[in-house]
Chain length 219, copies 2
DNA sequence: CGGCATTCGTTAAACAATTAACAATTTAAT
DNA sequence: ATTAAATTGTTAATTGTTTAACGAATGCCG
């Protein structure tokens, strides 16, 4: 059985997709699922699915497949989705509000515990049951509440300052939505996500797909 | 000079980041920029920057760098960001509202031209100057308005149906936010984007970074 | 019980992307 | 003018990911 030192990033992303399917299967009462079925449903080749599970240290039975509940648990464990991670949001603009209202936090073990902004008209209001505070309070709140992760949903011009504040307060991981490279100490993890990526790649693919007479085969 | 048949996907994503920087430099009045400076600002290695520009068919001058405006134009051209692409949104929930309010469309040449939903309490209301219509009207509207792209911001259970409707109406590209693999004809481009990816990878990285005594060097 | 078909775990080969290297080119300095 | 320093375009080496292959394990069927 394969031991996993570090998993390819692409595998991690696929695990997320796979877990989503597994949870659905679990809800539907399925007990076993094969690599082929997983591939069918998620659009990933069965080979790749098995290779990914190899990285995890897989547990399937030939001819039967993988036990759904057990596999889901393994993925949650490797991705560390079970341990609770208290999180703060900085910047309650359009994006911040959407994130606040969404249900994505708990799936990955994150719990939104504080919201900060600089806008006086927002400070003191309540969103999703959380009181919005002045960003100057971040140091004390993060320490007091033991918050370890932060989301930067502020304009690009304020992103580095926000990151510095977060790092100073002791935050170890930043989910950044501003289109800039954040400079942080080595022991702080940054995951940047530009929402525009999707549109840009779509634009490029559209242009190419129209020209291609032999488009990529679905696999 | 290198001709570009197909650019690596990763390069496309970096182009987006680079373009953001170039536009800022343009606004600041800079005329030239070197690969090293671009790398510095975007967090990409200078080598990779030059390799990416090689794919584009680069135009820099040794010792001087690249002409900012010209390079930006080249990227816009290769990514096809200039041609207008009329787009519709299906599903005006939390995510849909955030997307409607955001300014990401125009940068990539997309124009939000129609909004559809099934919720009677939404149909007929106006958001961002656009009247929300019943999704049953999609066929006629897409034809009449010459809409070529669609955003699926509906629950996972409705995503494939939505995709089928879009394809039936003649849409050639789908930006999908539901965590499912959409089955579409080969000549339709799908770009799926799970917002949870960021959190999942963050979770995995946090776990690994804490354990690592020799964390990845910033490059 | 004994073959047959299926599916897994693993290894190996093919492919793709990143990093490194360097000659060619341009500017600036002496 | 000539040299020195910087930076590009491009090729080569390295690294990483995906695809393919196949023996071993398992269930199924006669
Ligand atoms: N809205 C989107 O869909 C979208 C799409 C792509 C990228 N983004 C990026 O996400 C970020 C936020 O986008 P948005 O649309 O929510 O912006 P927004 O302007 O709606 O909201 C920004 C919020 O941050 C607050 N803020 C500003 N400076 C601050 C500071 N120093 N400290 C704390 N709070 C501060 C503002 O008061 C405001 O509430 C931007 O970097 C943007 O480029 C957003
Ligand atoms: N909100 C987020 O931040 C977030 C995060 C991660 C993933 N997602 C995904 O994005 C999608 C949308 O999320 P959301 O939070 O906006 O959901 P939501 O429930 O807030 O909104 C869904 C909208 O789609 C409409 N709808 C439902 N069925 C439809 C149909 N058949 N045709 C047209 N419209 C229909 C509903 O009326 C509603 O307005 C989901 O697939 C979700 O998994 C959202």
């Amino acid at each position: 059985m394969g031991e996993h030192k570090k998993m390819p990033r692409a595998s991690v992303l696929r695990m997320e997709l796979c877990l989503e399917l597994l949870e659905q299967l679990e809800a539907d009462g399925s007990v076993y699922v094969t690599s082929r079925q997983i591939g069918e449903a998620t659009g990933v080749s069965a080979d790749k699915v098995r290779q990914d599970f190899f990285h995890l240290g897989s547990e399937g039975k030939p001819k039967v497949g993988y036990e759904v509940a057990q596999l889901a648990e393994l993925i949650r464990s490797v991705l560390d989705l079970k341990t609770a991670k208290k999180t703060c949001l900085v910047g309650l603009g359009n994006l911040g509000r959407a994130l606040t209202a969404s249900n994505i936090w708990s799936r990955a073990g994150f719990e939104l515990a504080a919201i900060f902004d600089t806008d006086p008209s927002l400070i003191g209001t309540t969103t999703a049951g959380i009181r919005v505070r002045n960003v100057t309070e971040i140091y004390g709140v993060v320490k007091a509440e033991n918050i370890i992760a932060g989301v930067a949903a502020v304009p690009a011009s304020a992103a580095q300052d926000t990151a510095d504040l977060m790092v100073g307060a002791g935050i170890r991981a930043i989910w950044n939505f501003a289109p800039v490279k954040l400079h942080v100490p080595e022991d702080v993890v940054v995951e940047s996500q530009s929402l525009a990526w999707g549109l840009i790649t779509l634009s490029y693919e559209m242009k190419n797909n129209i020209k291609d007479q032999a488009p990529e085969r679905a696999k």
